[in-house]
């Protein structure tokens, strides 16, 4: 058994464990479990670190899609993740495959600290390097995009000695006018109508509450000053107007109780 290579705590699993032969107390077993867990954890982390330091695949990040209006400038961002430090020999390269074409053409390359922009292809005089290679950013800026620029852009980054990895793609969509996103207007109409409904209900209940409070304050003041001519009759009229509402409520409640008793 290759126990010498990996420091596995075999001694914990032998049958002649000293604690098992005696009376196994609770604390002894718990301590043993904790030892096993710690050793398993240490083993897993060592294995993972070993694996990680061996597979140094570089991971390139770009956006999934970019949408732009005709005539505007589009920034295509590209970054990468690598276990190694950023080397001075880091390279970025961009390729472009138009919609419907089978082959991609190379439009940008950065190597040895110098960016080489496209001077003969479809993006001559329209491309600019706006990235910062020391910060792992290899973004390019396309100016004045047109419908012919619809297509797939591929960014590939290499960070020696970390060179194994797959490039990442960005799809560019150029629109004449910004299309309305699905569901925006639907949600807006539904929201406005339901909001109006809730507003009307709230205003209705607010009015009822205010009227009830006014009646309450009037009844209190009526108790305070009795027999004061016109004001007294006005208050009586106000009470009479709002009283039917209260009487109705009281009557319906009485009827509800009666019908419940009848049902029972």
């Amino acid at each position: 058994m290759p126990s010498g290579l990996i420091p596995f705590p075999f001694h914990l699993f032998s049958f002649h464990h000293p604690s098992l032969s005696r009376n196994p107390s609770h604390t002894d077993l718990r301590g043993e479990q904790r030892e096993i867990m710690l050793s398993v954890l240490a083993l897993t982390s060592v294995v993972l670190l070993g694996i990680a330091s061996q597979t140094t695949a570089i991971v390139v990040y770009t956006s999934w899609e970019r949408h732009a209006l005709v005539g505007t400038d589009v920034r295509l961002s590209c970054s990468f993740f690598s276990w190694q430090w950023t080397s001075p020999d880091v390279t970025f390269s961009w390729h472009y495959r138009p919609d419907g074409a089978k082959e991609a053409i190379s439009i940008f390359h950065y190597a040895g600290g110098i960016p080489y922009v496209d001077t003969k292809g479809p993006f001559r005089d329209r491309m600019e390097f706006v990235g910062n290679p020391s910060r792992r950013d290899g973004s390019i800026l396309l100016k004045n995009v047109d419908f012919a620029d619809n297509g797939t852009f591929t960014c590939d980054a290499k960070n020696p000695p970390d060179i194994a990895g797959s490039p990442s793609h960005v799809r560019l969509f150029v629109f004449e006018k910004v299309p309305v996103q699905a569901g925006v207007i639907t949600g807006a109409i539904i929201g406005v109508v339901l909001g109006l409904l809730i507003l009307i209900v709230a205003i209705y209940y607010l009015m009822r509450f205010l009227v009830a409070r006014r009646v309450f304050s009037l009844s209190m003041s009526k108790h305070g000053r009795k027999g004061k001519g016109k004001e007294g009759s006005q208050q009586k009229q106000a009470l009479a107007v709002t009283d039917p509402a209260k009487l109705k409520a009281a009557a319906s409640e009485k009827k509800k109780q009666e019908s419940r008793r009848e049902k029972k």
């Binding site: 309305v180 699905a182 019908s259």
Partner: protein, 157 residues
């Protein structure tokens, strides 16, 4: 009395079910190869069917919103009916229930009208109208009549 109540509730629920089916099932416009509705356009070519989200135009979204609002208002009207059944006093009318149901029917009507008028943009001559479209038009008078009955009905017992 109970029979009348049951009949009214059945009518209301029928209108609600029609609204649901009309909104959800993908059969507003169709031809032998494809069918389209408020939400997606599905085409069947050589046995493989692919669905794309519907045209994100302004008007189709308005129709979507109106159909959903009509379902919501019909639901609310059913809920209010049962509320008012137990809280309204004798001789009272189900105004609120009827109002909500009539609103629901108006929403369905405007949705169907907008769809009919705007269909010149996205429906060719060879295509025919599917059953969901017809159900929407049938649901409108059903809901309207149901709402009117609520407004006219007086609570007895």
């Amino acid at each position: 009395m109970l029979l009348l109540l049951l009949g009214i509730v059945v009518l209301h629920v029928a209108a609600l079910v029609l609204l649901f089916v009309s909104t959800i099932v993908s059969a507003w416009v169709g031809n032998p190869n494809s069918s389209s509705d408020l939400w997606t356009n599905c085409t069947t070519l050589n046995g493989i069917s692919t669905c794309n989200p519907a045209d994100t135009g302004v008007w189709i979204q308005a129709v979507q919103a109106l159909m959903i609002l009509s379902i919501i208002f019909s639901f609310l009207s059913l809920f209010l009916f049962f509320c008012q059944l137990f809280t309204l006093q004798k001789g009272g009318r189900f105004f609120l229930t009827g109002a909500f149901q009539i609103f629901a029917s108006l929403f369905v009507m405007s949705g169907a009208i907008i769809y009919t008028v705007m269909n010149f943009e996205w429906v060719h001559q060879s295509e025919f109208y599917g059953f969901s479209y017809i159900l929407a038009w049938v649901a409108f008078p059903l809901a309207f009549i149901s709402g009117l009955i609520y407004v006219v009905l007086r609570k007895r017992e």
